[in-house]
């Protein structure tokens, strides 16, 4: 039985919970009546399911004739469809107060992703492509130095979560901007670290799309707030 994936998921959930708890204590969730923890877990579960389903279809495995394969998460989860499904479910559950819910989840989602990548230590799968850099790490019994790429990603996600949470508390960004920036950060971190991951193939256009959509969302929300303030002062 393979439990290392559960270990990584556990680290992710702890990181998500810690940031949501910290933000709630600091008043960052003010104006949001939803239980963000429940929304986050429901969104993550939906993302996992849809991502696994998409990976099966992409691999040519029919989910109708092989339904049991859906639970073999280690077999692969398609990141793009998983992220799209998680965002869609979070938006649907929080539709009555869309931006407060998505903003409230933003830093927690980044922390959860950071925890998931940090879980590579439990899974023994932190290493990527070869490098001569001084901090390169090697597989057991090997002399080939490799990028600890999952640790890079974990560090970037956790720093992103901390910066976003602090900014939300001090800067009070307009509704939707934090969510847009979180999407941009998540997609950009994956896009930048992807070349350091060994892969058989795999399009990374999902990450480029995520960066573009995140920037567009954040910019539009910012402009809408500026227009609203201008209209009020006029």
């Amino acid at each position: 039985m393979e439990f290392t994936l559960l270990g990584a998921a556990f680290v992710a959930v702890i990181a998500l919970y810690a940031v949501l708890y910290w933000e709630a204590r600091r008043g960052n969730a003010a104006g949001c009546t939803h239980d963000l923890w429940e929304v986050a877990i429901a969104a993550a579960a939906a993302g996992l399911f849809i991502g696994r389903l998409a990976a099966m279809i992409a691999d040519g495995v029919n989910p109708m004739t092989n339904p049991a394969d859906i639970i073999i998460v280690r077999g692969g989860v398609a990141t793009g469809p998983a992220a799209a499904a998680a965002i869609a479910v979070a938006a649907w559950l929080g539709r009555r107060e869309l931006w407060p819910v998505l903003d409230g989840l933003a830093a927690g989602a980044l922390a959860g992703l950071g925890g998931w990548h940090l879980g590579c230590i439990v899974r023994d799968s932190c290493l990527g492509t070869p490098t001569d850099l001084p901090w390169a790490m090697t597989l057991q019994g090997s002399t080939v130095g490799r990028h600890p790429v999952e640790l890079y990603a974990a560090f970037a996600f956790l720093v992103g979560a901390a910066v976003l949470a602090q900014w939300r508390q001090r800067g009070k960004p307009p509704p939707g901007v934090a969510a847009g920036l979180a999407l941009t950060a998540a997609a950009a971190i994956r896009l930048l670290t992807e070349p350091m991951r060994p892969a058989l193939a795999g399009p990374i256009w999902w990450y480029t799309l995520g960066v573009v959509l995140g920037i567009v969302a954040a910019t539009q929300c910012w402009r809408r707030e500026v227009s609203r303030i201008d209209a009020q002062s006029a």
Partner: protein
């Protein structure tokens, strides 16, 4: 009214799955530990030995990955599929469905003793990674993911 259509649609989609033609898949040659060890001792290219069975659900999950890896590294890495504790019809059906185009050499071990002799266990799937000297570099138990497969292939190619 609409709810009546959903089960009907599900059944229709399931019924659309075509019956698998195994006539193009040859019988799997039965091998032994000694034959496999001899092959590993004389190899000049890295070898990946994947232990699978048609009754193994996780094996279905990793089959497309192995097929992609075998196609990507054709000529550089030799892929061997070791079918264990299985019957020929089931194995051929599995190959026809999940490894249709893969440059993978499939062998049969009906007793399922070879993986244990090679240092593994009775569980399936198992994946052995050997370098070009026939030295075991990594034994992966359970379903393998794309990152691990790509990383271990890169490792055996560089040793």
């Amino acid at each position: 009214m609409r709810s009546r259509w959903i089960p009907a649609l599900v059944l229709l989609v399931a019924a659309c799955s075509a019956d698998i033609d195994i006539s193009a898949v040859p019988e799997l040659p039965v091998t032994s530990t000694a034959e496999l060890q001899e092959m590993l001792a004389t190899t000049t290219t890295p070898v990946v030995v994947n232990v699978w069975a048609s009754w193994c659900v996780p094996c279905r999950s990793e089959a497309p990955l192995l097929e992609r890896a075998a196609v990507t590294t054709v000529g550089e890495v030799r892929f061997i599929g070791l079918n264990v504790r299985d019957d020929q019809t089931g194995a051929r059906r599995f190959i026809a469905e999940f490894f249709p185009m893969a440059p993978i050499e499939h062998l049969a071990d009906p007793g399922g003793t070879i993986p244990i002799d090679l240092g593994g266990n009775r569980g399936v799937p198992l994946t052995f990674f050997y370098d070009r000297n026939g030295e075991l570099v990594e034994l992966h138990s359970g379903v393998i993911d794309e990152r691990t497969l790509a990383l271990q292939i890169d490792e055996i190619l560089r040793r």
